[in-house]
Amino acid sequence: MPRIIVCLKQAIDVNQLKADPSTRRLVTAGVSRKISDFDKNALEEAVRLKEKLGGEIVTVTASGEDAKTSIREALAIGADKGYFINDEALLDSDTLATSFVLAEAVRKIGQFDLILCGEASIDGFSAQVGPRIAELLNIPVITYARKISLEGNVVTVERTLEDRYETVKTKTPAIVTVTKEINEPRIPSLMAIMKASKKEIVTWKLADINVPLEKVGETGSGVRIMDVLAPKVERKRIVIEGENPAEIAEKLVKALIQEGMVGR
């Protein structure tokens, strides 16, 4: 029976973000954290595979902040156990550092058939962590999955690319990153939430997985962030009004002709 590891990121809820209009700096204070959307799809897919094939699901999360509430939610959705690498030194880690930590954690967690990740996180959206972990563990990776089937030691995946769907297969152990279209994550029942409170969350410091401090945080990162600002909006915002749709249409077409958009 398969053992599946799901990588979960606790991300900032991007829909709650606002920027200070004068400085264009983001206001993150008071913005809640949640399981990154696509990672929730990965977890849901793991639960569906377990419902079919049996086995075990463990989650792994690395964060410099507290993420226990998110991990507890994952346990309620259907994970059996959560591993949490919680260390302040992880703050400001990029994908190079984060992947290293997750790969080392996976080594300590031990045997597995499949690692599932979201295609990208909802905040950074870099889509790098899954492929990077695969390289560090030297196992195959399949990205952008919209369908997964697991038979014995072969995983078959339908991938969504720009202009086509591609069906590919490889041998396990392997990593698959999933898209949002793969499933609709369930909302856990009250019963499941209560049961989850009895499941185990294993918390590790970096030292517990033998990750030296220089491998994480700013020093362990390949990318150095200079600033994060709300995008500039430079639009004319001309309101077109009229007595009736025909008059509005006439004004718009006139404006579009002046912009050089019509009649070429």
Binding site: I12, N15, A19, D94, T95, L96, D123, G124, F125, A127, Q128, P131, R132, A134, E135, P140, V141, I142, T143, Y144, T160, E162, D163, R164, Y165, E166, T167, K169, T170, T179, T219, S221, G222, V223, R224, I225, M226, D227, V228, A230, P231, V233, R235, R237, I238, V239, I240, A246, I248, A249, E250, L252, V253, A255, L256, I257, E259, M261, V262, G263
Partner: protein, 321 residues
Amino acid sequence: MSEHIGVWVFSENYNLMLELLAGGSMLATNRKTELAVVLLGSGVESKADELIKHGADKVFVVDSSRLKDFQIETYLSALTNLVTGNKPEILLIGSTKNGKELASRLAARLETGCTPDCSQLAINEEGQLVTKRIVYSGNAVVTATYRKKPQIATVPPRTFEKLEPKERSGEIVKAEVEVEESKIEVVGVNRMEVADVKIEDARIVVCGGRGIEKKEDFKPLEELAKLLGGQVGNTRPLAEDRKWFTGWVGLSGKKIKPTLYVGCGISGMIQHVAGMRDSQVVVAVNRDPEAAIFEVADYVIVGDLYEIVPAIVKELKKTLG
């Protein structure tokens, strides 16, 4: 770190690679260094001249029957071996989905940083690559540089315009590198509907959102798009929730930058805006005067798209004769 020299570009998508040469050329000029391109495939050597005409000073050609079709692992191993042997300081890779996976894995092998989907590239006073890209679902632009080399960035289609080809001299280096076997076997490919494919290339896009009640109601939008010489697009809910389409315009879908974007019945969720923000002129039609799409519009029309769109079609027909 100082032994890293030169700007390199690569994409498995040849047309995108020509665009990357324009971006790479700007960086190489700035760094007073050479621009190289990596050409992988089987029987591809004849393309080297065209790459030189489009700005490459050097073309690394790996011509092997094992590289005939794009497979991530075979391409990745060839690229890794070339980069390790030659140590470029900057490497631009085309931001296709496969290209992003390739770049991530290359960065992992080389233990370096990678910034994906860059919309702007520059060189700072220290001579480092500086990138800009959208994060937080379109809520912010992050400016970043690197701590390690090579500095890897992926660049989406249409970020740079191809240079005008001109006669210039360049060096063609035939390289022999080891190519790994692919661990992934492709067992089938299904094309998506053609209509969904090329919206990135459309000069004009008329986009529909949740304000459109039935799929048939796209007819006036299609008519408008046709009159303007463009294409129709849609938001994510129309594809994912209503299953009317397979693709969508947005952060997680197609990023478009047409000269004209007309949004009909689109509320302007930040994820959608991230996919159309770079449009040259934006027109938005929505019944709700508070709709967020109006914040990013040049022409704001508060009204019922079921009345406004047919009226624009009628007016255009009159104007165009």
